[in-house]
């Protein structure tokens, strides 16, 4: 399942105490909403926060698994 693959990739990139949530928005397995909380975001601009998420998901973004991605990030500070 694509949802689990995305969760695994995000958890690897944003380990505890961060939280990761992946929602399949349409049930079709290619439109996702990801919500990530992580101390890695602390002090970063929104652009750089999203860049870290994009980097973590580079492979599924490249291979077409992700057709549409919505990102919500939050620091822990």
């Amino acid at each position: 399942m694509a949802t689990e693959r995305l969760e695994t990739l995000l958890r690897d990139a944003f380990p505890d105490p961060g939280t990761v949530d992946v929602e399949d928005r349409t049930g079709g397995g290619d439109h996702f909403q990801v919500t990530v909380t992580s101390p890695r975001f602390d002090g970063l601009s929104l652009l750089d926060q999203h860049r870290l998420v994009n980097e973590a998901l580079a492979e599924p973004l490249r291979d077409g698994t992700i057709h549409e991605l919505r990102i919500k990030t939050r620091g822990t500070a």
Binding site: L47, H50, R51, N54, A58, E68, L69, R70, I71, K72
Partner: protein, 125 residues
């Protein structure tokens, strides 16, 4: 460098606010492009749009230039602001208007127009 890449670069560097999107402002083809465009309009931004759908090469060249993997992509004065989520979030918090005023000047809303650039032909309407 290809002519196409030159034209994309020219839009990014020389248009005050550029959005690379699916479709055009008159005929938006994707929910995310619509969200970004709406946030820009609500902030009163002048908008220059480029439709990436006519040729996959547009998206490929853009991605190479910006390093950003998804569409839409919004640039202000040559600098990447982000995609739909960031543009929308900045719009809701009011930071988008602040950023536009900082980079374009306080009067950026005056006479703000929408344009579309066809990066395949170079036409600007």
């Amino acid at each position: 460098m290809s002519e196409l890449q030159d034209r994309i670069k020219d839009v990014i560097e020389n248009e005050p606010v550029a959005i690379f999107m699916k479709g055009t402002p008159q005929f938006v083809m994707c929910g995310n492009s619509d969200r970004a465009l709406r946030a820009l309009r609500e902030a009163g931004a002048p908008v220059t749009a480029v439709d990436i759908l006519p040729d996959p090469a547009i998206r490929a060249e853009l991605q190479e230039l910006s390093g950003w993997p998804t569409i839409p992509q919004v640039f202000v004065k040559g600098q990447l602001v982000g995609g739909a989520d960031i543009t929308e979030e900045l719009g809701e918090s009011g930071e988008l208007a602040t950023l536009l005023a900082e980079r374009l000047g306080e009067g950026y809303r005056d006479g703000a127009e929408e344009h579309v650039v066809d990066v395949l032909s170079g036409a600007r309407v």
